[in-house]
Symmetry: D2
Subunit: 151 residues, 4 copies
């Protein structure tokens, strides 16, 4: 049982995501949110490719990092911001497919730090999924720093 | 003394970089190449920001990963391709500034694997640099796989 | 279905483990082997503690790295050796308990490289398990290098 | 200029190190401390070897993690404890030599978190050094938790 995110937390996450200029620019979208979990989807486009025509590791990392951040953010209190402390990414297979989906899960919630795992799957035209990369990340909860852009 | 890249290797790197659709789409450019070293620059744009208006970790990671890849590629033989096996990135400070520069250096060249360090600096309007992130990566040399896009 | 390791591979792994001076010195033992998987156990002793009396991160890392190595080794051909390329370890909770168990699983087998995940659980006196740490590692298969000590 | 550690901080670090049962059991010793830096030395012994007779990655990781922890600890206030959040280690060369030395340096000090780099060198009989491994770690400052063993 995964549980359902309350409406206030769901809104908080979606409003924050709507300010994610870079991920939105790449074409990323929220696919699912649950307590301690987030899934994001990124359709393939030629601009997201590396020199062999597959998803660039940087695009998959952006997706995984953002999914990991929102998985942690679902568990954070109102008025807190999430910052990425660090992550490690293993690229397992060429990122080949019509879309990539990052599914993140908090392994250990903490008041200040959360360890999060994110798996990135590439989805073929027919829907078959293949694990393309996996991330292990540390997220930080910063209190009293509203999650709004400066200025 | 760092040494100078031979003209054939320089051309091989620059031609490969010219096929890096994602990095080019973000606005990245080669600043310098030397044997075992590469520096890339990325001017700030609003599309590269996260929810607080700084460089998104994914954009800085893309820059660092690409710099690390080309640092390794300078040492690889003609006809080889470079693949990212994995990397770890620590975000040290908010990625704030007019541009970001990633400077990568091969720590240990090997026939098959190369360990590479990449530091990402954010550059203020006046030119002051601040270390924003650091990456430790593993690159793989794939022989007999020309570095050209498929199809 | 996990599958069972053939007798030759089982013997190859156990003979190699019997030469692991450091892990044996710490008190580690093989708990289970299966294709692409390995579990090792390490009973707590005062010599394995850090300054607060819990398992030192280095002892848990040794266990996880070794489990990850043997998970990969189960899939390698006769006459090959396994080398750790790199790993990343997140320490999630104090390593407190009567024993630690590392369970490793190959995420992506490859001819040369294998990505492996290893979870380290601490086991209380009554048998309750708690996830204490998690590792993401890259192992390398070195052919034609028999897994024997030099000299 | 690196600076010199004040006598109170020096004593605080050395007293904490004297409670590091695991590192002491392996034979590790403090070689140098400075603000934001620490160097530890570990003489080779047969019990520290892996299956090929070199330093086990776990022994080198223990040394690097501990050096990284004390590099951070030198910058922490009286009454604080240091905890390892995570680290990533790249094994660059076989850990071969009469001793290993880990030299750690804080890359970014913070009130709560510190990013630390640690390089591990293996020292041959004649004194020649070789970079055997490099670590990138995150350390946490825990206040109001005296650095003493429980019980």
């Amino acid at each position: 049982m995964i549980g359902t995110l309350g409406p206030a937390a769901e809104r908080r996450c979606r409003e924050s995501f709507a300010r994610q200029a870079f991920v939105l620019h790449l074409g990323g979208a929220v696919e699912a949110l649950a307590p301690g979990r987030a899934a994001l989807r990124l359709p393939f486009r030629a601009e997201l490719a590396q020199q062999h025509g597959f998803f660039h590791a940087g695009a998959l990392t952006t997706l995984a990092d953002t999914a990991a951040g929102y998985a942690a953010f679902t568990l954070m209190p109102e008025g807190a911001a999430v910052l990425t402390v660090e992550f490690k990414m293993n690229l397992l297979r060429p990122g080949r497919g019509a879309a990539a989906v990052a599914r993140a899960e908090v392994l250990k919630p903490g008041r200040t730090l959360m360890a999060v795992r994110a798996d990135v799957f590439c989805i073929a035209e027919g829907g078959a999924e293949e694990l393309a990369a996996t991330m292990l990340a540390t997220m930080m909860c910063v209190r009293n720093r509203p999650d709004v852009p400066p200025g």
